[in-house]
Symmetry: C2
Subunit: 529 residues, 2 copies
């Protein structure tokens, strides 16, 4: 092991990893390896983190909720203070634009998520207290133990395993987090963990509330999520790695929330294209190429109906894809995977309208790629044509007619989003109904006249969807307080004496403003005796 | 195949099964086979049921909710009209007392569950509408497609796959049900399905809203729950069969809710025993032997602290167990399984205090069995000592002291319930705290001074718990509206035009009284413009 290899954060100590190897991140703008070495941890590190986390989980249950909220707020403040260094590190490791993306959009979003989580901790908005005074039973959601978080490559801050949405949700529910860094941005993650740990110390939480390892073998990752000491897992990333973790967690009966893959179908009717052709071209191209197409909700597949309007749309997009500069991709692995997915689609019969599919030698980049197939082609092999091409590539599916377009939608797996563009004058409502009927059961979020990128942090947001978009169609990864309940267990208190109840279930409303479902009615009032 | 083999109910027709064999139920009071033959369905029946159910799922989404409510109410009425025949059939197949159990407790409970589900359908209490007017996003829970329900042996009505809690919840969420009968009471299930189907017809629901098969091969069962056309599965039964279904459903990304096994630990402190020894003996014996101990929440394990009080308690219970007549068990399989579990516990070192373990030749019955081990024995092999002995058997674990008792609790798997008996004068609050701290994370429902049998149908009930009690610690199988959300998917409507929204998300409150979370506040009001 390299003597300069970075330490892991276990049980409150930045200590030398028990490592089986090391790795370096790559600067995607140069394809050069970045200097710091990070360890591949052995099971010994996982075991130590699990042991420390279980002890911390017990301690956390004893603490007043305000301490957890204080931690989240202190961490949010720390992130703002460390913004410059964080943005530099993330830029070097991901190639994402420093401004506005990293500094002005993603970091503020991350800070905001932590603050919203802190508010939910204080208000108990995620706890859903239910009180049945007649039966003498009261229930609420509670912490469930250590949570392992595996963050994705495409949001180095906002979905980072040690600062992002899953992290904030798991902590807000009162659980310690064992963060596993995404291997494409370990230095960014290290810096975030430093700020998180400083906040742990300043707010007086158990030292093992936040722990960090960088990488493990696949077997150790599976063993980690299935360990009896683990409570639950949040994972966002590739489908293959996610499914291996899911199999291990499922077999052990451990909840695991995954975001795996999604092509985010968009259907645009001829009437919509006739009405506002330029607007729709602009909206699509902007959404498809934003962040070099590396959003979970990137519109990877557009269903059109054959005809003059669709032809004009295809030509206009082809022109824009061909002339727009290709953005930098997050890593060599993303560039390789994109090239490979495009190849799969072309081998299946898709026609290439833009992009030569080549990967640049001195930068992680693939030319903007636009593919096309017919509805009939798609229906003959829907599995292959649904191959996610993560990055700046989209597939147009041109159906013969609306019925065939609906059949294409009917043949889809679960997706995070589905968009329907129709005429604003309501002249194609029948088409909308048919398409919406096919689309709604297959997506977590249905949009009208709007592209899917941009995932608002709202209580009404569902960043989720049927498998394989996620592992369970009833939960969202974005939106507070809703995302917090993933990392909680439901507990009923039956005939439990008044002075032994969790504060949320006491007769007196603990905050004066927490919403509780008392005898069939949501109220902020105390239980009346 | 026997020419008198009963038909299956598929796509609105009682038709001859595509059968690979047939089976008969056994009268547990005589160990004689009951006359009717029931088919073991081949995959062809499963496939036909899935095809019909997916079509019905689409139709159900188009119907006004009142029709679904009408079905549930009509079914409830039908059950009351058919009460006598149902009670006779269930008595013959399960040996459960006709009165009060079957006629006066379980059937009324089943009727009540259907009525509560109907009310939830009308009021939308399970839908949880969330409206964010600023972001323009609205979300709610919706139907997710056909639901396969596998009912247990111990509640021929209230958890029956074609009439019980999972059935009512799945239908209330707008899903068709493919019911798989429990093989120990097929005739009861057939009669229930007749009433259900009559209600389907009278209320004008799609014919395949309710379908029934009796038995399949294990492979076909696994294929059924994993089929792309299936939406989700509810299973209550043996751990081994449940885990096979879970593995298949998990691999296909299909939600599956299971209730597998639970020993329902009870801890009784010396102070509690000193204070009210007779009451506690009575409560325990009543709870432990009620229904011949065949409740999911039967108190199968009692943790005591060594001393005179515990010794007196043990002796009193031993006396009661030895003199109480042994009730009839549900089936030969239950009797065999109970004998086998008792044997496992004895081989692990448990001492037999009451019961000779023998199974009666002309009746499904095993003498009331009381076993005992020390805390130390338990801690040396917690896995084996947690063997569920489903039926009229309990294990006493006598710990050296309170710390060891807490360690025993700490070593437990997930359970449906956990009970703590302490002194009513509050003199052993420190003991309570220590025990509650260990118990709460491991159970779905924590009780004080009360035995776990008796599962109230309340919005605050959690009939659930960490694995292996169930497959996910966040859901309950009992309690309306909470149990309904298991069979639903979350959908966000983003920028969706007002006239296209589900009624629950319209500006106007669809019932005038549905609780909706609008801009951070639960309210029954309309959205104000």
């Amino acid at each position: 092991m390299n003597s300069e290899t970075q330490p892991v954060l276990i049980d409150g100590q930045w200590r030398e990893a028990s490592a089986t190897g090391s790795f370096q991140a790559t600067n995607p703008n140069t394809r050069e390896q970045l200097p710091p070495h990070f360890p591949v941890s052995s099971w010994q590190d996982c075991d130590a983190a699990l042991a420390a986390a279980s002890a911390a989980a017990v301690e956390l249950r004893k603490l007043p909720r305000q301490k957890i909220a204080n931690f989240l707020l202190a961490f949010a403040d720390n992130l703002q203070s460390a913004a410059d260094a964080l943005v530099e590190a993330a830029y070097a490791e991901t190639g994402l634009a420093k401004s506005p993306r990293l500094a002005d959009v993603e970091l503020p979003r991350t800070v905001n998520q932590l603050k919203l989580a802190a508010a939910a901790v204080v208000n108990g908005d995620w706890v859903s207290p239910v009180i049945d005074t007649k039966a003498g039973i009261r229930s609420c959601y509670e912490s469930l133990g250590p949570v392992c978080v595996f963050g994705p490559n495409n949001f180095p801050f906002a979905f980072n395993s040690v600062a992002g949405g899953d992290f904030a949700a798991a902590i807000a529910a009162g659980n310690p987090v064992i963060a596993k860094a995404n291997t494409s941005h370990p230095e960014t993650t290290r810096l975030l963990a430093e700020q998180a740990f400083a906040a742990v110390e300043s707010s007086g939480l158990p030292a093992a509330t936040v722990q960090l390892i960088y990488r493990t073998s696949h077997d150790d990752g599976a063993r980690l999520v299935a360990d009896p000491r683990n409570g639950a897992t949040g994972y966002t990333g590739s489908r293959r790695a996610g499914l291996a973790l899911k199999a291990a967690a499922d077999a052990a009966g451990k909840p695991i929330y995954l975001e795996l893959s999604s092509v985010n179908p968009v259907v645009i009717t001829p009437a919509a294209l006739k009405e506002r052709p330029e607007d729709i071209v602009n909206e699509f191209v902007t959404s498809a190429l934003m962040g070099t197409g590396q959003f979970c909700t990137n519109p990877g597949m557009v269903v059109l109906v054959a005809g003059a309007e669709s032809e004009a749309f295809v030509n206009a997009v082809r022109e824009r894809f061909s002339t727009a500069p290709a953005g930098t991709l997050l890593s060599p692995a993303v560039a390789d995977s994109l090239s490979s997915s495009v190849k799969t689609l072309i081998e299946a019969g898709a026609e290439r309208l833009a992009g030569d599919g080549s990967s640049e030698p001195n930068r992680c980049a693939v030319s903007n790629t636009l593919l096309q197939c017919s509805g009939q082609q798609f229906l003959q092999d829907p599995e292959t044509f649904q191959t996610e091409a993560f990055g700046n590539a989209s597939l147009f599916v041109v159906a013969d007619d609306l019925d065939q377009a609906a059949k294409v939608i009917d043949s889809l797996e679960g997706n995070l989003t589905g968009c329907l563009y129709t005429a604003t004058d309501g002249s194609d409502e029948a088409a909308y109904e048919q398409l919406a009927f096919a689309m709604t059961p297959r997506v977590g979020r249905l949009l009208n006249d709007k592209m899917p990128t941009g995932v608002a942090v709202s209580a009404a947001m569902n960043h989720g969807g049927p498998y394989p978009a996620t592992g369970h169609p009833g939960f969202t990864a974005v939106g507070i307080p809703t995302s917090i309940s993933r990392f909680a267990k439901l507990t009923s208190y039956d005939n439990v004496r008044a002075d032994r109840l969790p504060c949320w279930l006491a007769d007196k409303n603990p905050t004066g403003s927490t919403w509780r479902y008392i005898d069939g009615r949501w109220t902020q009032a105390d239980v009346s005796n």
